[in-house]
Symmetry: C2
DNA sequence: CTTCGATTAAAACGAACGTTTGAATGTTAG
DNA sequence: CTAACATTCAAACGTTCGTTTTAATCGAAG
């Protein structure tokens, strides 16, 4: 009991140092490209520390995602519920829902010191990660928030066929993931000012405008989706 | 001279078998996750064959991309030039430019037998690849087509600020890359019929509608982008 | 001070990696 | 047939990987 308490502090210090180092190195070199030796030396820990504290490299990867993704998704859901309460009965507008979803990601982009930026870029990469366990972990961690937002969009866009909504959410998610994951070196389209790239406010405006328009795009069959509110 | 000619057939057989196997395995397990032993055994070749024919694993990776990307970008540019010729002087509409760009990617999605589908998904992953040499290779291979399309969009949307266009092209590219790379397991938003996922025609309609709307989205400052034609 | 549990440290483990080597093989020109 | 060539093959190279082991270190409780 007490023995566990006194052990918590130093344990957590090393644990978080490892998590921070892993976050950055996984982002820079990928999971397989990051060796335990490089990782532990960057964290200022012994080579065996990862296996002692986390059990294995795979368990460390999972811990890296859980540390940030759990609170992030909780925040996303809270933001949505706040929004729904504010609109008292009626459904929030698609734009507001989109902005609520974006906000948690964009807040982390601005957090360069705390490592949030590293994580958000790492996360963007994880969606296209070859390793099946990692992808299913991400999917599983995301699922609750995803369900809530899907339901919110369905209520906001009752005229949009469900299947079309699925696809458009897929597209929206891809745009966000790619935008976040893209690094300075993958500038296929040159010309974005580097200082703007991490400006959360600017990014939110640009992304929200693009995504809202895409989500509300007219259907090919002639009928258009009426803009709510 | 003649010695080179007679050697070409068997050489190319093994080479293409290796390229095909690499394409599929790189997509499934990533570059670092694919060992030469697994790769060569799948290709029905000796372990040393890769180093004999390509020089190294990295050179093989480059060859995998070049084999498909060079003709694909040439096709993209040809499609655009055809479009510009058809519209005789005036700029093609954004929708047509978008569709021209999509077509080359979507044509490969339909090509499951020839391995095109494997490659297109591999390509989607490569944009967020941690390895710097790979990213810069992709960027370099894409650059010529990218410049042409950027110029085409600039002519089609003279009222859209250049910087905004850069961002929106970035978004569009992300949507496409993510959509192509997403595998069956990364179905964060469930509900897409599996048989629709590889239907090039359907995908083109859905993507074109979404991307065109996003590209033409009204600017926040009040002024909107007029739809051309 | 002693004891005990948690943590750190150094060293070694076997396995798998990309690559290289040198001989065997098959194919074609002279 | 023989010589010359590109290709294939089995084997081994040295390195690095993730993990395990065993001993040292530390900090509070008794």
């Amino acid at each position: 009991m007490t023995a566990r308490l006194r052990a918590l502090k130093p344990q957590h210090e090393t644990r978080t140092r490892i998590l921070d180092a892993a976050e950055e190195l996984f982002m820079q070199h990928g999971f397989e490209g990051t060796s335990m030796r490089l990782l532990t030396s960057k964290a200022g820990a012994n080579l065996a520390a990862v296996n002692y504290h986390f059990g294995s490299k795979d368990a460390l990867i999972e811990a890296v995602f859980r540390r940030r993704l759990d609170p992030m998704n909780a925040e996303r859901i809270a933001e949505l519920e706040r929004l729904e309460k504010a609109s008292a009965g009626g459904a929030p507008t698609p734009e507001r829902i989109i902005r609520a979803f974006l906000r948690a990601s964009l807040a982390m982009i601005g957090d360069a010191r705390g490592g949030g930026r590293n994580f958000i870029r790492l996360l963007g990469r994880a969606y296209t990660e070859p390793s099946k366990p990692i992808r299913s972990l991400i999917g599983q961690l995301y699922a609750p928030a995803m369900e809530r937002y899907k339901a919110a969009f369905e209520r906001a866009l009752p005229e949009l066929p469900r299947e079309e909504l699925n696809w458009r959410m897929h597209f929206m998610f891809g745009t966000l993931a790619y935008t976040l994951a893209a690094t300075d070196t993958v500038q296929l389209i040159a010309g974005c000012k580097p200082e703007d790239r991490y400006d959360a406010k600017l990014l939110e405006e640009r992304l929200a405008a693009f995504l809202e328009a895409g989500l509300l795009a007219p259907l090919r069959c002639g009928s258009t989706v009426k803009k709510a509110a």
